[in-house]
Subunit: 304 residues, 2 copies
């Protein structure tokens, strides 16, 4: 990374992840509350680790707009994004959906707590995310009408026209002949929409104008889709230790993926093109968008 | 009801229910959207009928504060309350939870659409409720900071310290020796909190002052708990045709209920006392609180 100048992405990612982890630890109620089981289950999945990609993209978008100084105030939003992501993983892993036993190298929520509590832990994370987004901390720091716009963006991206729509098509197209259109729909809704919403949410709280907001949303959509394609590629060739999932599990399940439809080589090319488009979307931004640029490239090179 | 003057509760309930049903029909996207399956599943459960108690309490609270003229503007909130209620029913009915085949006299969501889609339909209703609460219609009619307070109230009432906490204790205490404290916890969180939040949400949008808000919240908590006790009683003695559920299903499941702990007679007395307390909480209100008063009494007398 030193070729990019003094900025070191590794250290940046590490610092942001730590900030978000500390905020999650603080904002998620502990097991001293009643009933302890639900707080244990919620904390088990959220604090199991993870790259915190959505919160980091949100923080990097704020920095690109010169609002890096607000990063502590924005922590409830960063945490809400991660909580909604975690809820989607818990529910995706359920026996009625992908039936995964293992996530991030650990037993999935329903293996540890039972299906009933896993469903409720997902429900709780989704609900508490909206409690944070409308809570005192953010309201003391940001205008109410902007917060409402952020809540709306996030809810729409997570809803029937976003993440949930993508998941419905994903699980109900398993074993079906894969059409490129269907695949594109799944990836843009299931992964692209929430990632784009994370970038937009940060931009909105940073007071972005219409043009900057559109550029950052475009960056987010491209990066989100690239991220999912790389995920598909890693599922074929990645090693289990790094992804924490069984290699080839998508093939086993008959899931539609980029590699299954276009082959590995063309999938890599597609991811490259998307990252290039993401970088183009940032052409009007100055050096403060450097973290966003390096994050986009990093997504291509990731191995887990 | 004519003894209470010209006001007829039956007609009132019918009118409000129709208003809410029309708004739900309008605000829930139809099956012409992609993927049709999720919209079909969402609409199946929401439009299956129901008393629309939470929306009606919300509207009646606004009327008690002289803001009945706002009832059309407040429809997205009324619908959001019903959507969150319906999500909780869909998830409660899942095989991993109560495993109910029948609700409101119709097959439950997972029996019709499969467990995967039932989970996602519940998730969708919860998510889309927050999209409505932060959406254009309410924002054009009400101040942003009041809407944030409403969103927060609803999220907290539906979360770990409210409905979800109650459900966790409920499913995990089945077959356990019933303690009065546990039972009280379950009922106040699972039913009391969301009903009280419905009343408060209406009061907030009507611009209630601190004192009126507290009185209405107290009314809501008492009415919510009374409603649940009557529900327990009807589960023992009600007829299946009216409740749409199997009579005695709570006993079969070893669920903690008021009748199982205190007997039918004492349970009826307790419900009476709670309704009396709810009415006392309204002592400072004038005739415009008549619908709220009659609703409280109606809850005692209901047979389904």
């Amino acid at each position: 990374m030193s070729a990019e100048g003094a900025f070191c992405l590794e250290a940046y990612l590490q610092t942001k992840k730590q900030l978000v982890d500390e905020a999650l630890e603080r904002l998620l109620p502990g097991e001293e509350n009643y009933p302890p089981l639900i707080f244990r289950a919620v904390r088990y999945s959220v604090l199991a680790g993870g790259k915190r990609l959505r919160p980091v993209l949100c923080l990097a978008a704020m920095e690109a707009l010169g609002a890096g100084g607000l990063q502590l105030s924005v922590m409830p939003l960063a945490c809400a994004l991660e909580m909604i992501h975690t809820y989607s993983l818990i529910h995706d892993d359920l026996p009625a959906m992908d039936d995964d036993d293992c996530r991030r190298g650990m037993p999935t929520s329903h293996k540890v707590f039972g299906e009933d509590i896993a469903i409720l832990a997902g429900d709780a994370l989704l609900t508490e995310a909206f409690a944070l987004l409308s809570g005192r901390e953010l309201r003391d720091a940001f205008p109410a009408d902007v917060l409402l716009t952020v809540i709306h963006e996030i809810a729409v991206a997570a809803g029937c026209f976003g993440m949930i729509g993508g998941q419905v098509v994903d699980i109900r197209s398993e074993g079906q002949p894969a059409a490129a259109e269907t695949l594109h729909y799944i990836h843009t809704r299931k992964t692209g929409a929430p990632i784009s919403a994370s970038v937009k949410a940060g931009a909105l709280l940073a007071g972005a104008g219409k043009e900057a907001l559109e550029s950052l949303a475009l960056y987010g959509r491209n990066v989100g889709l690239a991220f999912q394609i790389v995920d598909d590629i890693l599922n074929v060739e990645g090693d289990r230790q790094k992804t924490g999932k069984s290699t080839g599990s998508d093939v086993y399940r008959g899931k539609v993926t980029y590699p299954s439809l276009f082959g590995l080589e063309q999938s890599r090319e597609k991811a490259h093109l998307l990252v290039q488009e993401a970088l183009n979307a940032l052409s009007g931004f100055d050096d403060r968008a450097q973290p966003l640029r390096l994050l986009a490239k990093h997504i291509l090179e990731r191995r887990s």
